[in-house]
C-alpha cells in the first residue's frame, strides 16, 4: 500500500465525486475528496497503482510526501 495524491483535470472538477467513485472501483482507498482544489487523496495497493492512471479525469497520480520541520529548539526553521 502506498499513499497517493490524485490530481483531477480541469474538465472533471465539477464531476469529482464520479472520479472518486471510479477510483474506488479501481482499488483506491479514498480518504479525502478535496473539491475546491480538485485533489483526491488516499492509498492504493502497489499492484493497482497503474490502474488509477486509466481513470477518466485523472491528470496525475503522485506519491504522498511528508514534510518535517526541525525541532523547536533549532535556531534555523
Amino acid at each position: 500500500m502506498a499513499g497517493v495524491t490524485v490530481t483531477v483535470d480541469d474538465t472533471h472538477l465539477d464531476k469529482i465525486e464520479e472520479v472518486a467513485a471510479h477510483l474506488r472501483r479501481s482499488g483506491m482507498h479514498v480518504d479525502q475528496v478535496l473539491s475546491e482544489i480538485g485533489v483526491i487523496s488516499g492509498s492504493v495497493p502497489d499492484d493497482r497503482r497503474q490502474l488509477l492512471h486509466t481513470v477518466t479525469g485523472v491528470q496525475s497520480v503522485e506519491d504522498t510526501a511528508t514534510v518535517q520541520l526541525p525541532p523547536p529548539e533549532s535556531p534555523v526553521q
Binding site: T5, T7, G38, V39, S41, A65, V67, P72, Q77
Partner: protein, 448 residues
C-alpha cells in the same frame, strides 16, 4: 508648472548629445474623449486635424496624417501637433486642466554600440571622475559605501522596518490570512480579541493547538498586534487581519501531503486572500498536485506564499553547488506558488536560504523578506515545557509570513487579489544588489 514660450523651442541635436526632436509636440489629454480633444485643438487655431479613426482599423497613414496640423490617436487620448509655442500656450489656456502634458516629439534610434569617439570620451570622463574620487579622504569613500543595516528597536523588529511595515498605515482589516503550520497558541495574550478561525488536519488531533511553536511564530509575524500587551516591540504585519489557523503539521513538526492539501482546500473554501505555508520538502521536482492546486487557488482569489527552503549552506564554499546553494523544493517550486527567500539585517542572503532550482519552470525564488533573527510570538510558558512567549529564530519559514502579512496590507490598500496581488508585491519590492536566483524581485515592501 509649465515652461514659458521661450523654453518651448525644440532642440534638434546630433546623436550622442541630447535627444533629437522633430519640432512637433506630443500632447497628452486628461480625458480620452475624442470630441473634446478635437474641440480643444480647433479652439487653439489648429485647423487640419486628422484622426486615427479616419483609417481602417485605425491603421494611421503617418505620412498622410503628418501633412496636417495635428494627428489625434483616438484610443490613447494623445495628439501629435505641429504648432508654434504660442499656439500650444493658447491651447492650454483655452482648456485649463484638459491637458496633462506637452512634450517634444523625440526621434528614436536603434541602440547601437558606441563609436570610437564616444568610447574615448567615455574613458576620459571615467578617468576624470575616478581621480577626483580617489583624491578625497578614504573616510569619505567609506562613508559613501555604507550598506543598509537594520536593528530591532524597542518599537519594531528590524524586519518590520526593512519592509516598510513600521511606517505603513494599512492593517489588513477585512482580509483573511490563512497560516497552515503547527497550529497556534490560542491563549497567547497578544491575540486577545482577534478574529481567529481554526481547524486541525492532523489525523487523530482534534484541535489546532500548537505544541511546537513554529506555527505561533509564523502567525505572529503575519498578523501580530500593533501594540503587544506585554510592551515588547511590534513584530507583526497585518495586525487587523482575520486569522485562519490550519494545523497541518503535528506538534513534532511533521505532516503528510494529505493534511496539507486538506488545509489548502479549507482555506480556499473560505476564500482566504492569502495562504501562508512555511513548510516544504527538499524535492527538486515540481509536484503536479501542488501546481494545479496553486493555480486553482489563484483562480479563486487566493495567493499561496511558501518558503523557498533552508537547504543551502552558503557558509561552506567548499561544498558542491547544489549543496552550497540548495534549491527550491515542493511546494514553493510550483510556478503558481510564490517562493520566498530569507535576508538578514544587512540585507544579505541568509546562509541557509535556498537558491532557484535551475532548469525548472517555476522553480524560482520570487521575492525575499526578513528571515534571520526574526522576533515573534512562541508557545506560552507551560510547566511541562521550557518554552517562552517570544523567540528570535531564522528561516525561510520566517521570511514567508512577512510576505503573507504584507500581501494582506496590499490587498486592503489596493483591493487586489491573486495574480494582481503577486504582480504588485514583485513590482513594488526593493531591488537589491544580489542575484535574482537568490532574491527574486528583491525585498518585499509594504504599501505606504
Amino acid at each position: 508648472m509649465f515652461p514659458d514660450d521661450q523654453e518651448l523651442v525644440p532642440a534638434v541635436t546630433s546623436p550622442g548629445g541630447t535627444a533629437e526632436t522633430t519640432g512637433r509636440w506630443v500632447v497628452t489629454f486628461a480625458d480620452e474623449d475624442e470630441a473634446d480633444l478635437e474641440a480643444t485643438l480647433r479652439g487653439a487655431g489648429v485647423s487640419h486635424v486628422a484622426s486615427s479613426r479616419d483609417f481602417a482599423e485605425q491603421a494611421l497613414d503617418v505620412g498622410q496624417a503628418q501633412a496636417g496640423d495635428a494627428v489625434v490617436l483616438a484610443e490613447l487620448g494623445v495628439a501629435v501637433v505641429s504648432a508654434e509655442p504660442a499656439q500650444v500656450t493658447a491651447m492650454r489656456a483655452a482648456a485649463p486642466g484638459a491637458i496633462l502634458s506637452v512634450e517634444p516629439e523625440y526621434v528614436h534610434h536603434i541602440l547601437s554600440l558606441p563609436g570610437i569617439d564616444y568610447l574615448r570620451g567615455y574613458q576620459d570622463g571615467v578617468t576624470d571622475l575616478s581621480s577626483r574620487l580617489l583624491a578625497s579622504a578614504r573616510a569619505d569613500l567609506a562613508a559613501a559605501e555604507v550598506a543598509q543595516v537594520f536593528q530591532d528597536t524597542p518599537q519594531f523588529t528590524w524586519g518590520l522596518q526593512a519592509s516598510g511595515v513600521s511606517s505603513s498605515p494599512f492593517t489588513g482589516e477585512g482580509i483573511k490570512v490563512a497560516v497552515l503550520d503547527t497550529g497556534f497558541t490560542f491563549n497567547h495574550p497578544d491575540f486577545a480579541g482577534r478574529n481567529i478561525t481554526a481547524q486541525s488536519f492532523v489525523p487523530g488531533v482534534a484541535t489546532a493547538d500548537d505544541g511546537h511553536g513554529h506555527g505561533t511564530h509564523c502567525v505572529g509575524t503575519a498578523c501580530g498586534p500593533k501594540a503587544p500587551a506585554s510592551g515588547v516591540r511590534r513584530y507583526g504585519c497585518a495586525h487587523e487581519a482575520d486569522i485562519f489557523v490550519g494545523k497541518v503539521l503535528s506538534d513534532q513538526g511533521s505532516g503528510a501531503d494529505t493534511g496539507i492539501l486538506a488545509g489548502i482546500n479549507w482555506a480556499v473554501a473560505n476564500r482566504t486572500e492569502v495562504i501562508s505555508m512555511s513548510l516544504g520538502a527538499d524535492v527538486p521536482q515540481v509536484s503536479q498536485a501542488y501546481q494545479q492546486v496553486g493555480r486553482r487557488a489563484l483562480n479563486r482569489g487566493c495567493l499561496i506564499v511558501a518558503a523557498a527552503g533552508n537547504n543551502a549552506h552558503r557558509d561552506q564554499p567548499s561544498l558542491p553547488p547544489q549543496q552550497q546553494f540548495g534549491f527550491v523544493g515542493i511546494p514553493a517550486n510550483s510556478p503558481s506558488i510564490m517562493a520566498v527567500a530569507a535576508l538578514d539585517n544587512l540585507l544579505n542572503i541568509g546562509f541557509f536560504s535556498a537558491r532557484s532550482l535551475p532548469g525548472v519552470r517555476g522553480g524560482s525564488v520570487d521575492i525575499a523578506a526578513p528571515g534571520v533573527g526574526v522576533f515573534s510570538s512562541w508557545n506560552q510558558p507551560r510547566p511541562e515545557q521550557s518554552s517562552q512567549m517570544y523567540r528570535s529564530i531564522s528561516g525561510t519559514s520566517m521570511a514567508t509570513p512577512h510576505v503573507s502579512g504584507i500581501a494582506a496590507l496590499w490587498c486592503q490598500a489596493r483591493a487586489r487579489k491573486a495574480r494582481d496581488l503577486w504582480a504588485t508585491l514583485t513590482q513594488r519590492a526593493q531591488r537589491l544588489q544580489l542575484p535574482s536566483v537568490d532574491v527574486g524581485s528583491g525585498l518585499v515592501q509594504a504599501p505606504q
